[in-house]
Amino acid sequence: MQSWMSFAAGLLFGTGLILSGMTDPGKVQGFLDLAGRWDPSLALVMGGAIAIGLAGFRVAHLRVRTLLGGAMHLPTARDLDRRLVIGSLAFGVGWGLGGFCPGPALVSLGTGEPKAIVFTIAMLAGMGFHEWWPGTPRADAAPA
């Protein structure tokens, strides 16, 4: 049940990414190109997602258990540390350079696009490098 639900959520998420234009690296870079001919589309992707999210997560945060009766694992960390900023800056450089972030990269893997495959392998290598780096805490069940 949990796996089918996760699969359905992933499918819906991926469909949203394709429809929104996030799986087109040229469009992503067009959004990041403030000094050129700017494509504001991706601001609407964020706006639309957050409009739903603001209401939905308000409800989620009030709940002690999931609708299926399982435990909630929403993040509780509040500290602003160097890891957060340095990691996010590095991510932003890679995002600007290639035009892919993790979700759209995985969706593009399903299209068989060779450049997306190369990017995704490198991305997984980067994640694995971090995951297995000595002293790294194990991947939290609740990221972000």
Partner: protein, 144 residues
């Protein structure tokens, strides 16, 4: 700055964003977790017992999305300007950066901002700023 009106896709991007938000909320309410792609993928690279199925199912849903899309319509065309070397560098930065920073565009950008998390606001401002600067350097200083 000038607006690239010919590339602007307000409705598709807004509706795509709504789908992404709906998926994230559904995931939080039913699975009790953040739909953060980098965290879900990262956790699979150093798996824990009982923590594999839902992660693999969500990522499979992302990868299957373009196949599902193709049964109804043609996939939108994409443009990937970056060469293979740049994509490898970008992938490594995105992979390691998102794990170090604890999230990406989905975990911090969509879910975190929806949850009004100060950590996610700092992360999102950091990766956006780094993305803007990177594309500026690529397109306007290096002329790529």
């Amino acid at each position: 700055m000038s607006i690239a009106w010919n590339h602007f896709t307000p409705w598709a991007s807004l509706i795509g964003g709504l789908l992404i938000g709906a998926s994230a909320v559904m995931f939080a309410l039913l699975n009790g977790r953040i739909a953060g792609i980098s965290g879900i993928a990262g956790g699979l690279l150093r798996p824990r017992r009982g923590d594999i199925g839902w992660r693999a199912a969500f990522l499979l849903g992302l990868i299957v999305a373009p196949f599902a899309w193709r049964t109804f319509a043609q996939l939108p065309a994409v443009r990937i300007d970056a060469g293979y070397a740049a994509l490898v560098a970008a992938g490594l930065l995105v992979g390691a950066g998102t794990r170090l920073g604890g999230g990406c565009t989905s975990g911090h950008g969509v879910c975190g901002l929806s949850r009004l998390s100060p950590r996610s606001l700092v992360a999102t401002l950091s990766f956006m700023a780094a993305g803007f600067v990177t594309v500026f350097v690529l397109r306007h200083l290096l002329g790529a």
